[in-house]
Amino acid sequence: MSSRKKALLKVIILGDSGVGKTSLMNQFVNKKFSNQYKATIGADFLTKEVIVDDRIVTMQIWDTAGQERFQSLGVAFYRGADCCVLVFDVTAPNTFKSLESWRDEFLIQASPRDPDNFPFVILGNKIDLDNRAVSAKRAQQWCQSKNDIPYFETSAKEAVNVELAFQTIARNALAQETEAELYNEFPDQIKLNANDNGRNRDGDNCAC
């Protein structure tokens, strides 16, 4: 039963408009890139089968409209996501700054069982451009402060690191699924921070 359930991974790509969410998805799934910008309407998804640790997994990758923000898509959309990919543009510092709010909002909307250990992946896109404004170190530091989120520098145009990033996304999402199954016997439980304190004692959720 569990193997059938795991076959589909729901991955959601978020980030400000124009950072290259659609391009990244297209590069990964169709191996294509277009210089023309066309805003995504609402949300769209592509599926791709990948092999993770000798298992075939179908990734359902949801690309969202950057300007849609959260309230249009709503709780139902984010619910059941297995991994959340946050994208920013390394040439636009504002898109990096808004990562925090994207992450927070996602956690509120999706209300995953274990918010502190929910798999996120951060992608700094457009590294092929010369006018870089967010340094790798700065992005890395932010990711470390958020419970060690994996960080990749990608270029959808040149297909740099895209494959590697999505492999990590699939692997982390799958790990999350296996963990989630342990909880399945309590379908309606509400996740409290208590148990996390036991697991990671770096104390960032301690109020003193």
């Binding site: 949300a43 599926t47 249009s72 709780v75 509400i190 036991g198 959720n205």
Partner: protein, 441 residues
């Protein structure tokens, strides 16, 4: 057999009507024929199709082909572009677009076979593979689900159950979605507007309601204050949050299915801010006041325990819920206060934590000494006999504090010191300037 089903149906629970073979059929046809209508209910506005786009014939029927859905997607996309950002129309259209895309994928995946997952109206339906031994009823048509011969879906978020054949016709938005987006309970007691305001239709499925039809009597839901038909209101009983907060009235009342699901789902979510909604309740319910005071102590203890490797094991879920800085209560907390179980639990809990903190080297090292009497008794912020200064966090015995004229000695001392330091500082800068002058010369 048909008579047996009708007789058995949960919708006639506590109803005057006991059995009729024809009811099932009539109520079902009327339900499905009206699905997709505009709702007049304001409460669920964001989840129902907004009036301005209701005439665009967006809804497609359940057996639509691939081409039809593709067309609908294109139409929906165009409409999205024509609506303002963050408007209700936009919201509805975007969500509908997502549903359409998922449906298209379903059709591509398995041609005509029963779908593994269905996403509709915020629900995430999964096939029920091993139904429980208890008899189950379809939330849509309220008929029995004969698990051996009939397939069924269950929503993984709200627990909505329905037949395979009913899944495309359902009218109820997922209770989890409604409650999570709202983030609070209805806090006015049964906000009834009357049947006329509902256009004499069921608030959920839009079936016409009349008093003449004994088989489909209008039923009032005590939580939402709306009228429902017998298919959407099974006379489930539940305590009502608004009545509890305003009247401490725990009597169970009849609620609609949607309200029942919403209340059940959110029963242990901390949604109720008693301090804000009805602060006077504390005066009337001594137990509640006691718990509320206890929560401040818990908050302090939590800070001690968080920083101690051994102490973190003591952080039980209850502790974290109640020791949280936000002072909200869940219905299950209030219920436990009402039946007295929370009081005993809390007393035990605080006893255990207190004994840990006072005996643990790490925790007791973070205790305080009284600023006045300087005897070696270690004070903690959660001691009832101790007081803490809001400004400088120094601690006093209650008695010492009163004796010293209710002023914080440390604050006074700090102020004095600041004054002298300022004086010295000006002197120092003077001399410095002098030195530099000398050096330059």
């Amino acid at each position: 057999m048909a008579a047996a089903i009708a007789n058995d149906s949960p919708k006639y629970r506590n109803s005057l009507i006991c059995c009729s073979p024809s009811v099932e059929a009539t109520s079902r046809t009327s339900t499905s024929s009206t699905s997709g209508n505009v709702s007049i209910d304001e409460g669920y506005d964001s989840n129902c199709i907004p009036k301005s786009i209701a005439n665009k014939k967006l809804k497609i029927h359940s057996s639509a082909t691939k081409e039809e859905i593709e067309k609908a997607i294109i139409q929906c996309k165009e409409l999205v572009l024509n609506t303002a950002q963050c408007s209700d129309e936009r919201k509805w259209l975007v969500r509908y677009l997502v549903e359409l895309r998922l449906r298209l994928e379903d059709i591509k995946d398995n041609n005509g076979q029963a779908r593994l997952r269905v996403s509709i109206k915020g629900h995430h339906f999964e096939q029920q593979t091993n139904p429980s031994n208890r008899k189950q009823y379809c939330d849509h048509c309220s008929g029995v689900i004969w698990s051996i011969v009939q397939g069924s879906y269950i929503c993984s978020d709200c627990g909505y159950l329905c037949h395979y054949k009913c899944v495309d016709h359902i009218c109820r938005v997922c209770a989890h979605v409604v409650m999570t987006e709202k983030g609070s309970f209805e806090m006015s007691i049964c906000p009834e507007k009357g049947l006329a305001a509902q256009d004499y239709k069921c608030a959920e499925c839009q079936t016409a309601l009349t008093f003449k039809d004994m088989w489909n009597e209008p039923r009032l839901c005590d939580y939402t204050g709306l009228y429902f038909c017998a298919t959407c209101h099974w006379n489930d009983l539940s305590a009502i949050p608004a009545r509890v907060i305003h009247n401490w009235d725990w009597e169970k009342r009849y609620v609609s299915r949607i309200a029942y699901q919403m209340l059940n789902l959110s029963w242990s979510r901390p949604y109720i801010d008693v301090e804000k909604i009805n602060p006077r309740l504390f005066n009337f319910i001594a137990e509640l006041e006691w718990v509320h005071k206890m929560r401040k102590d818990l908050e302090w203890m939590r800070r001690y325990l968080c920083a101690c490797a051994e102490g973190t094991n003591l952080l039980s879920p209850l502790f974290v819920q109640l020791g949280d800085v936000n002072k909200k209560y869940s219905m299950s907390h209030l219920q436990a206060i009402n039946d007295g179980s929370l009081e005993t639990q809390l007393t035990e809990l605080t006893e255990v934590c207190r004994s840990h903190i006072t005996s643990c080297d790490l925790c007791s090292g973070k205790g305080y000494l009284c600023e006045v009497c300087k005897n070696n008794e270690v004070l903690y912020p959660f001691d009832s006999g101790a007081l803490m200064c809001d400004k400088c966090n120094s601690m006093y015995h209650r008695g010492c504090w009163l004796r010293k004229g209710q002023k914080c000695l440390k604050c006074l001392r700090l102020e004095e010191r600041k004054k002298t330091v300022d004086e010295v500082q000006t002197e120092i800068t003077d001399t410095l300037e002098y030195d530099i002058d000398k050096f330059v010369n």
